[in-house]
Symmetry: C2
Subunit: 137 residues, 2 copies
């Protein structure tokens, strides 16, 4: 029931970028140092954020990363899902073959867990990075 470390790093990286003038490009090395993230691992994470359209990457000299949209339009859910994929708190919620009862009857556990999951998703959607940034003050 834990977010993984990569997600934590991703959130902090996006938060970092959110503190800069929009469009400003920052090299990975700088983020890694300031946020205390192992460099090569960060690069891997940034690629996921890039693929998810949260961040834009620039290669070559003076390359780096910049946000692809305004901080107010990036939610924590966006970042979590970019790294971990869709949220699923129980494997039976994505892969029905894992239902230990094989769907033989109406399953209140499945239902309750799904409701919990939905509430988490909604909760994560509430937070955008402009908000988080403001909360730092």
């Amino acid at each position: 029931m834990k977010l993984n470390q990569a997600t934590d790093y991703a959130i902090r990286s996006v938060l970092h970028l959110s503190g800069l003038p929009f469009g400003q490009v920052v090299e990975a090395k700088l983020i890694a140092e300031e946020e205390n993230i192992p460099m090569r691992f960060l690069l891997k994470i940034m690629r996921l954020l890039t693929q998810a359209g949260i961040v834009e990457s620039y290669r070559g000299v003076n390359g780096g990363y910049a946000l692809a949209r305004n901080p107010s339009e990036i939610t924590m859910l966006d970042v979590v899902e970019a790294i971990e994929g869709p949220i699923a708190i129980n494997r039976c919620l994505i892969a029905p073959e894992y239902c230990s009862k094989n769907f033989s009857e109406h399953c209140p556990v499945h239902e309750a867990l799904f409701e919990l999951q939905q509430s988490m998703v909604e909760h994560l959607k509430q937070y955008n990075f402009q908000m988080l940034r403001e909360r730092m003050k």
Copy 2:
């Protein structure tokens, strides 16, 4: 961000017991068969539930397990915590030394994750096993 399999099994086992007249003792073998749980693994899980005071165990011939309290007084949170320990969606929420910023400043990520965690805990507390049982009909 997943509950583990043991927790799923635990929930289903408690749900199973909740369907019986209060105090009725059922042997592990039966639960294992009906709920499709590997026998020896179930025994391990049941011990955690026993230690948590959710279930009572009886050894020897005609032994087995019975609920220690009424289904209406057992919540999903009780069961989840019995198996997984206290909920912590980010390691920085329990072990401050994992804070990648070393507490050097006010951390909105920590704060937001804590709020999410609290909402999950509250949510899990809402569900008791009498409710879940009724939902099966």
